[in-house]
Structures are given as structure tokens and as C-alpha cells.
Symmetry: C2
Subunit: 172 residues, 2 copies
DNA sequence: TATTGTTATACTCTATAACTATA
DNA sequence: TATAGTTATAGAGTATAACAATA
């Protein structure tokens, strides 16, 4: 993982970019804690959601969509299948592909994840009134669009660019 | 490193918490890219800044302040010293301590880092007008306070709580 | 020959814990 | 004995690349 530290800040406080980095990291940690209560990690949740939105998708398709390495998807799906949340169905038309589907148990889990995610959102945005929260969402939505971020897809899933990896601690 | 994926989103778009996680990650990556142009990583920059603000601080003090392991600080300071940015001075009163100071070259580098950080802030917030940027800063400052974040200190520096680490990919 | 899925290997990074020197 | 600093070891996690099956 990469840890950013802004170095140029005047007395009035840290820069917007640094605040985003700090709060984003905090939001990430808190989400991981929420997921841990159902014994999942964030990538597990991302894969479950992607399958829920695209039933029958292949593992390669999921990997491309989320920017994960295929070998990692295999490992995650192995775990989800072992725990009964996901099933691999052979595609008779192209027997190389594994069509991924949620089981009944997996669909139930998705409901629980949705609840936890709403709780996560409340924890992270505690301190703002509804009007402020709406304003913040609007501003962040603009920035997400400007920065080329794909809705629902966390950039931490993607393979990190080599640019930042030239030295030691780049992409933590 | 931890990658968060919010799973509960209605049609209107992703939750504030998910947007923060996405944008925070993006801001972190972009900052790492800026630092790479001067052959540094974010932790290097954080340590340089901490020394600039507290000349003569010991390595343990830096470690506590930034939430880094002392053994990691040693390695980072080794590199910064080898490159002539930092010097270790023996404290005659307690010869166990190494008082850290920036060299002239290190101070010059801090100026460059400040410039890069301002550039980073502009990149991340491109798409907002000055008024929107101010509003965003205010809202994020509220959230940073509510979430117990320390100004200038990125939580990624701190040892991640074990709570989120119970399984595999928690803290990216 | 190309692609999906899988497995195995190697590498990077980090934390842990030993070790020294001072106190 | 306790603490600052350092070094060495082991572990976790990832990416790379090899492999089998199918097209």
C-alpha cells in the first residue's frame, strides 16, 4: 500500500488532496472492519457485487472489470465457493469458461453487506448534517468524474502503474 | 494495502464513504508519482517534513509521531542520509540518541517537495472552482476532526489495527 | 495458436525479534 | 534494568510465469 504525506501545508491546515488521502485511507480501513464482521475482505465484497450485477460472468471478465489479476480472482472465488456463496457453472458452449453465480446464501450475504456498507457510510460521515453530506457527495462526484474513476470500481483493485513503483514503498 | 469496495449503492451513485475511499486512493497514488520525480516515496517525504518541523528529534520520536516502526525509520533515514539530505548528530548528553537534522541540500529538497505538493493538490482538485474547493476543504476538515485524524500525519503510517487484519487483504 | 482457468515460484515488503551501546 | 538504535530473520502478500484444458 502507498501512504501519502503532503508536505506543503500552510498554517490554515492541510491541502484538500492530503485530507482526501487521509480520509480515504480511514474510510478504507473502516470498511475493511465492517467486512471483517462477516469474515470477508474488501476484494471479496467487490467480487460478490460484480457477480451480483453480472450473473454468469467469467472469472476473466471479473478480473478485467475490477482490475484484478486472474490468479487472484481464482483464489478469492475459491474461498467464496468453499464457503457456499458462489458457484462455478461450466458453460456448455465454451467449456473453458466458468460462469459465476451467487447461491441463495450468497444473495443473502449481499443483503448483509449492503447493510454494513450503509452503516460504514454513516460512521465515516458522522459530524455532517444531511445538507452538508449532500454537498460533499456532489463535490466528490465531480472529482471522481474528473479523475476518471469508474463508479463501483475501487482503483485499489487495478494494477498500480509502474510509475509510482520505482522505489520502495509505492503501492502499499 | 487495503482496498475497499462499497457494496451498497443505490442508483444515484456511490456512497460518500466509497467516493472518499476511491478519491483518497487516487490522491495517494498521484502523490507517490509526484514524489517519484525526486526519487522519494511518501514516507520519505513524511520523515523529511517531521524533521523540518522538529529539528534535532530522535528517530524514536519520529517513529512515534508518524506511527512508523523504529526499524523502518532507520532504513528510511539511512537512505536520506546516504543521499545527503539528513544528518545524524550524536547527542553528547545522551549518547544513545541520534539528533536528526536537515542538511542544506535537505532544506532545498523540502522546498521542491512543497512545490510538488501544491501541484498535486491542483491535479487532484481540478474540476472545482475556488469556491467549491474551499467548501470541500471545510467539509473534509470537519470529517478529519470527527474521525480523530492528526493534521500532517497520514494514518497509513500508523500500524494498522489488528481488527482489520484478521484475514487476507485487509490493509493495502 | 490463442484463451480460460489454475498452480507454482519468486520477489517485495513488513513485522518480529534479537543484538549493541549507552544509560 | 531499561531505552535508542541497528541488524537479521521470518512471514505475509503479490506478481510472474509456467501449465493444462479447451477452442
Amino acid at each position: 500500500m502507498v501512504f501519502a504525506v503532503s508536505a506543503a501545508n500552510q498554517d490554515p491546515g492541510d491541502s484538500v488532496a492530503f485530507l482526501l488521502s487521509q480520509l480515504g485511507h480511514r474510510a478504507t480501513i473502516l470498511f475493511a472492519e465492517e467486512m471483517a464482521t462477516v469474515d470477508l475482505t474488501p476484494p471479496h465484497a467487490g467480487i460478490l457485487r460484480a457477480i451480483a450485477e453480472n450473473p454468469g460472468a467469467s472469472q476473466q471478465a471479473i478480473a478485467r472489470q475490477l482490475g484484478l489479476l486472474p490468479s487472484r480472482v481464482v483464489a478469492f472465488v475459491d474461498e467464496l465457493e468453499d464457503r457456499g456463496y458462489v458457484e462455478r457453472r461450466r458453460n456448455p458452449e465454451d467449456r473453458r469458461l466458468h460462469a459465476l453465480h451467487l447461491t441463495a446464501s450468497g444473495k443473502k450475504l449481499m443483503g448483509k453487506i449492503a447493510t454494513l456498507a450503509r452503516q460504514h457510510d454513516r460512521r465515516v460521515t458522522a459530524g455532517l448534517d444531511p445538507s452538508q453530506r449532500d454537498t460533499l457527495r456532489e463535490l466528490l462526484t465531480i472529482l471522481a468524474r474528473e479523475n476518471g474513476l469508474t463508479p463501483h470500481v475501487h482503483p485499489g483493485f487495478r494494477t498500480l502503474g509502474r510509475g509510482a513503483n520505482s522505489r520502495s514503498t509505492p503501492a502499499g
